[in-house]
């Protein structure tokens, strides 16, 4: 199984992509399956670190949280831009020591941080596990550390580790 379907979840996702792109018909299912298997085997050739998805049922919850957070941040940043330089706003860097080590988890965290307006992923040292982010409107750095660690890192560690 492992040699034929090295990444079953990936294959499924790709097949879903294919079906979304074309149509949900038996023919497309067959064709999409063939292509998805081929693509995952190509991926296997590259041998990236295999993610261990332990509890994928947490994913929708995280997604919902993130979507809402992003929406809130959107408004916040929009108001900053609309407000111009009237309000005294301080931007700054925050260093966050992370416990998450899974590469894929980190990548997802990067997506979350980046997609959230107002925070930017700047630098991550994988030997020490320290993440440097830039915050547009920095009031309290500990609040940010707590936000990242409790709200996202914890969920991600549940999913990936």
């Amino acid at each position: 199984m492992n040699r034929v379907l090295p990444y079953p979840l990936l294959t499924a996702a790709l097949l879903l992509t294919w079906l979304l792109l074309t149509s949900f018909s038996p023919g497309q299912f067959l064709l999409g399956a063939v292509i998805a298997v081929a693509a995952s085997r190509a991926m296997a050739a590259l041998q990236p670190s295999k993610p261990r998805l332990r509890r994928w049922q947490f994913i929708p919850r995280l997604a919902g949280i993130v979507a809402l957070d992003i929406l809130r941040s959107n408004m916040a940043v929009a108001s900053i831009i609309l407000g111009g330089r009237r309000r005294d706003r301080v931007a700054g860097f925050v260093a966050i020591p992370l416990d998450l080590r899974d590469k894929t988890g980190l990548a997802v965290l990067a997506c979350i941080v980046t997609s959230t307006p107002g925070t930017a992923w700047i630098e991550y040292a994988h030997d020490t596990g320290v993440l440097l982010i830039h915050v547009l409107d920095l009031v309290d750095k500990d609040e940010w550390i707590a936000l990242i660690k409790n709200r996202y890192e914890a969920s991600l560690m549940e999913i990936f580790e």
Binding site: N74, F93, A120, L132, H134
Partner: protein, 151 residues
């Protein structure tokens, strides 16, 4: 725009709202890039467009075509997914490059390398040092214009 007639009113209104919302957010982000004084601030601005700016317009498209075709059309979601997945790559690399450049030039406003090497280090404030008045010589193409101070 012949098809606009075919659209149910609720869908038309919803689509219109979403489209304007997405475009507005994107425009705001773009204005942000003009407004913000430093690169690290400017990094934040386009994410308005890549997050809900994209999201709203993708939703608008889904609503519009689903209503037109009378069956759910959701493949636009893929666009949202891929935008979310790919945007960070560029931003991470750019931020890293900017950080590296500032550090080599001895800019005190960016945290030093040592910060990450020792967990729980201090952080510094960004005082918008690189405003638009700066010379364009900070492109890596002209390193000889500004002498390097290797660490």
């Amino acid at each position: 725009m012949t098809h606009a007639m075919d659209l149910p009113a609720w869908a038309a209104v919803l689509t219109a709202l979403l489209v304007v919302l997405g475009a507005g957010l994107t425009l705001l982000g773009a204005i942000g890039t003009l407004q913000f004084g430093s690169f690290f601030e400017r990094v934040h601005a386009p994410t308005l467009g890549t997050s809900w700016g994209t999201g709203a317009i993708v939703l608008a498209s889904i609503v519009c075509f689903s209503a037109l075709g009378l069956r759910p059309v959701v493949h636009e979601l893929l666009i949202g997914v891929f935008i979310t997945a790919t945007t960070p790559v560029t931003l991470m690399l750019l931020a890293r490059a900017a950080l590296y450049r500032d550090r080599t030039e001895g800019d005190a406003n960016v945290p030093p390398r040592s910060l990450l090497r020792s967990p729980g280090g201090s952080l510094s404030r960004d005082r918008s040092s690189d405003g638009p008045g700066e010379s364009p010589s900070r492109d890596p193409q002209t390193p000889e214009v500004r002498p390097m101070t290797p660490i």
